[in-house]
């Protein structure tokens, strides 16, 4: 019961954060002196496009009405005048599927998926672009994090149990290098060495997407293209998780309850893996989930270097082309991923540490 209350509060908090982010992003793209729509208009000459963009950005309306319509677009339950073609609330009604719920006067309340607008470039729905690129990035981020967590925790525990030994010092030294190197640097080196110079041994390519559509329209998964980006992306998290696990484990081992466990006559491995490790992992879990959220969205350089199609490379592409609906949609999606990951972390934390549940 306490747990449900705790989580529902977190979810409510998360919703408020998302509303705040929506307002912020909207203001950033609509109210600031740099008017995104104007910049886009400058590139276009034909009248139909001009008009389409003007309608799409609702430039004839004041900014507060635009914000209200933006929320209406995003909300799964929204109100529209379906019969009226000039209604600014519903630009792309022909392409977005929805379910009619009920009508109030001229307005119809519908259930739909959140509408992020359309790309200027491809005229495709932004939500489609997001969903198309999300799986590749998610697989990349999750694999990198899984690899980093397993290796990092094992190295950290190993180092802590042999504090000040040769192996402890070696792990510390190498992980310091891992933390200090920029990810694009590692990405270049790895791509060159394993994908190019050692290609005859590894059989891996320096560049290439995980998911692509071949000439006959079939979706093809090229799993070996995942290997090098995962390694490049995982290096920093491995190093940080190893150091964090090490220091947390050392802290825990000096605690009174570890002495109690020894006095009980428990064996070395029970003390380490049952009593100490579970306490030592709490700060590590927080860091892992924080990292995961960042990796979901922050793999920009890695995706770019490896030409790996995902959210990151898509964002860079959109920014280059002033494709503001796509940039806004992707930014909003990033925020939602962060909020959801945080709620999941809190839940995990409450499960691992009973003390958190009570507050």
């Amino acid at each position: 019961m306490l747990f449900i209350k705790y989580i529902s509060k977190r979810i409510l908090n998360g919703l408020l954060v998302i509303v705040g982010v929506v307002v912020f992003i909207f203001v950033l793209f609509n109210v600031l002196p740099v008017n995104s729509a104007n910049m886009t208009l400058g590139q276009r000459t034909d009248k139909a496009s001009l008009k389409a963009i003007e309608r799409e950005f609702r430039l004839h309306l004041p900014w507060y009405s635009r914000l209200a319509y933006y929320f209406n677009d995003l909300s799964p339950v929204s109100a529209h005048r379906l019969s009226d073609d000039s209604d600014p609330s519903w630009i792309s009604k022909k392409q977005v599927s929805f379910v009619k719920l009920f009508s109030v006067g001229e307005n119809t309340v519908v259930l739909k998926q959140p509408n992020l607008g359309r790309s200027f470039q491809s005229r495709r729905l932004v939500s489609e672009i997001v969903m198309e690129n999300f799986p590749a990035t998610a697989v990349l981020a999750l694999s990198a994090m899984l690899l980093a967590s397993v290796i990092g925790i094992v190295l950290g525990v190993f180092a802590a149990l042999r504090q000040y030994s040769f192996w402890d010092n070696a792990i510390l030294f190498i992980s310091n290098i891992g933390i200090s190197q920029p990810s694009f640097f590692a990405a270049f080196i790895i791509a060159m060495v394993f994908g190019y110079y050692l290609h005859h041994l590894t059989g891996l390519n320096p560049q290439g997407p995980l998911i692509w559509v071949d000439d006959e329209g079939n979706t093809v998964y090229v799993w070996r293209n995942l290997i090098l980006p995962v390694i490049a992306l995982g290096i920093r998290p491995v190093a940080i998780i190893a150091q964090l696990t090490r220091s947390s484990m050392l802290d825990t081992l000096s605690m009174d309850f570890v002495r109690t466990a020894k006095a009980k006559g428990l064996s070395y491995y029970v003390i380490i893996f049952k009593h100490a490790l579970r306490n030592a992992l709490n700060p590590v879990i927080t860091s892992i989930s924080g990292w995961l959220a960042a990796l979901f969205t922050g793999a920009y350089f890695i995706e770019e270097v490896f030409n790996y199609n995902g959210l990151g490379s898509q964002t860079i592409y959109a920014i280059r082309n002033f494709d503001f609906p796509v940039v806004m949609g992707l930014s909003l999606f990033v925020a939602v991923v962060f909020v959801v990951m945080n709620i999941l972390t809190d839940m995990l934390y409450a499960l691992v540490d009973p003390r958190v549940r009570i507050q």
């Binding site: 209350k5 509060k9 605690m255 009174d256 309850f257 002495r259 109690t260 466990a261 020894k262 006095a263 009980k264 006559g265 428990l266 064996s267 009593h275 579970r278 306490n279 691992v352 540490d353 009973p354 003390r355 009570i358």
Partner: protein
């Protein structure tokens, strides 16, 4: 009755590696433990008493520690005789928790926070007695009943943070006793607890060890506690045994001056003293040699007695002065329950309608068990906790509605000294800087040079040396740190000081020194104190008047001696009875009951 040997410690030397080579923490210690008896080891922090017990358990962290020489001969349950310093770790592990069990000082941190109390006790039972999970669970429940935990079935599934300190220590005792150990080592098991809880735990341990037929090694810094539980006593000082004998011998005829100082330094209940006798009244140390002074315990106490006439005169004088602090109907309620929107629906009434006055130069003692609201009351007076209602008038001004700038000015005159000298000093600030900081904040003295002079003066006042100015807190012992905290409180030249359990974390011998310092400063600077403690004997020694608190309300108040001699409330009587008195009469009575034919 024939005594059966259980454990022989012979010439034990345990050392720790430091930058200056090996330092002997335990130096040539020998003693015997007999079946069914209790040996008390007493001494101050750093005397080697805990290291002795950890040596017996083979739990000395190595490196940096090691048992350098000596033997620990144990007569095991199966009839074998083994030297615990020689056997391999795997064999030792079978003894630990099964035949030799241990209880530690800090019940708050000695249990693993992520497992239930039941699981942690069952773990030992399953390991040593080869029981199934269900059998272990039933046994644990029985143990919890035995240690008189309220609602044992609930505690079985409760996590440590859901229990009070006393309850956690009961869980620890249940864990240690669960495999019917031959030897139970209790390392300061009651030091972190209130006196009332201490009394119930001692009582429980006395009863259980007879039921289970365990021998006990009881370690403490307080001879008063030893009197309640031990058959034989070992007094340790700087790693060596300075005196050992039966509890009657030690209390009736203490031979070593250090033992005498330990007996004398506890605040006496029958008389009122000007200052407490301390180690320096009994011995001096020159080049590591102890030079004995011929003082007896009685002499040391008698020369400091305050007569009734003196007490009466002081009281009249105090009452004739105007009150410096008036507390009227003070309430501090903490919200405990909220509805979904965060509105408060329930309170804990930590301080509930409390009124009393403090006269200029007077010391008022606040006494009660943990959770009675005494600490919250102290903090509310200083506005460190928010008041819910009532008034606190300091020299006629209501502290509770002063604006921020006037409050800062007021804080100069009202200071607080906290309980834990370890966490109330910033570890990254040299002690000189720590004492100087409040002066800089309040702009006292013209410049840094003058401030530094003042700090050196204050260090001298609290018996610290000028070269301590640039040192950091970790280089000092608990008693020294508390003296540094006192110096910091004095830096602003306050009129009024609240001492919140300021001596509770200290050894009795160090406690006496700090109490003497507080009294001496009171005479010199004419301070007004509110002195908060759970220990009625300490409050009685310090205070002119005493306020007894229970559940946020005042139970009774009046002159300290009157409250002690003639308590009106059951609660006050409970507090008085819980004090370990260490009187010969009580020891004789206990020995005649427990060591029967």
């Amino acid at each position: 009755m024939e005594r059966k040997l259980l454990l022989e410690v012979k010439n034990l030397v345990t050392e720790f590696k430091t930058d200056d080579g090996y330092v002997k923490a335990v130096n040539d210690v020998s003693f015997n433990l007999y079946r069914g008896e209790t040996v008390g080891i007493v001494g101050e922090s750093g005397s080697g008493k805990s290291v002795t017990s950890l040596s017996i358990m083979s739990l000395i962290p190595n490196p940096p520690g090691r048992i350098a020489s000596g033997q620990i001969i144990y007569h095991a349950k199966d009839g074998r005789t083994v030297d615990l310093t020689k056997i391999p770790e795997a064999e030792m592990r079978k003894f630990r928790g099964d035949e030799i069990a241990m209880i530690f000082q800090e019940p708050m941190t000695s249990l693993n926070p992520v497992f239930t109390c039941g699981d942690q006790v069952m773990e030992a039972i399953i390991l040593h007695q080869k029981k199934t999970k269900q059998e272990a669970r039933d046994l644990t429940l029985k143990m919890f009943e035995k240690v008189r935990l309220p609602d044992p079935a609930r505690v079985l599934d409760a996590y440590p943070h859901q229990l009070s300190g006393g309850q956690k220590q009961r869980v620890m005792i249940a864990m240690a006793m669960s495999c019917n150990p031959s030897i139970l080592i209790a390392d300061e098991p009651t030091t972190a607890l209130d006196v009332t809880v201490q009394a119930t735990i001692l009582d429980l341990m006395n009863q259980l060890r007879h039921e289970i037929d365990s021998s006990v090694i009881f370690i403490t810094h307080d001879l008063g506690v030893i009197a309640e539980i031990a058959d034989d006593v070992i007094v340790m000082y700087k790693g060596k045994i300075v005196e050992q004998g039966s509890v009657m011998d030690i209390f009736s005829n203490p031979k070593h001056p250090y033992t005498r100082s330990l007996l004398a330094c506890r605040p006496p209940l029958q008389t009122r003293l000007r200052k407490l006798p301390t180690v320096v009244d009994f011995m001096r140390e020159e080049n590591g040699q102890i030079i004995e002074l011929p003082t007896t315990v009685k002499e040391a106490i008698d020369k400091n007695v305050i007569t009734q006439a003196e007490t009466d005169r002081r009281r009249e004088d105090l009452l004739s002065r105007k009150p410096i602090l008036e507390i009227k109907g003070l309430q501090t309620w903490f919200p405990t329950k909220h509805d979904f929107f965060g509105r408060v629906t329930g309170y804990v009434k930590a301080v509930d309608d409390v009124s009393f006055n403090v006269h200029e130069g007077e010391t008022v003692g606040l006494v009660g068990e943990s959770g009675c609201g005494k600490t919250t009351l102290g903090r509310t007076i200083l506005r460190l906790a928010p008041a819910t209602g009532g008034q606190v008038l300091f020299e006629g001004r209501n502290v509770l509605d002063l604006p921020a700038n006037e409050l800062k000015d007021l804080r100069r005159h009202m200071q607080i000294i906290f309980q834990d000298p370890y966490s109330s000093l910033n570890p990254r600030m040299s002690i000189g800087a720590a004492i100087q900081e409040p002066m800089s904040v309040h702009g006292i003295h013209a410049n840094e040079v003058q401030r530094k002079e003042k700090v050196l003066e204050l260090l001298a006042k609290v018996n610290m040396r000028p070269e301590h100015y640039y040192r950091y807190p970790h280089e000092f012992s608990g008693g020294q740190r508390q003296r540094i905290c006192i110096a910091r409180a004095l830096a602003l030249n306050p009129k009024f000081i609240i001492c919140d359990e300021s001596v509770s974390a200290l050894d009795v011998s160090v406690q006496a020194q700090v109490l003497n310092l507080l009294i001496q400063l009171r005479e010199e600077f004419k301070f007004t104190y509110i002195f908060i403690s759970h220990d009625l004997s300490v409050v009685k020694f310090m205070s002119d008047r005493m306020v007894v608190m229970n559940k946020g309300k005042i139970e009774e108040m009046g002159p300290s001696d009157e409250i002690y001699n003639n308590p009106q409330k059951e609660y006050t009587r409970k507090l008085i009875n819980a004090i370990p008195k260490g009187e010969l009469e009580d020891i004789r009575k206990r020995m005649s009951v427990t060591v029967g034919p």
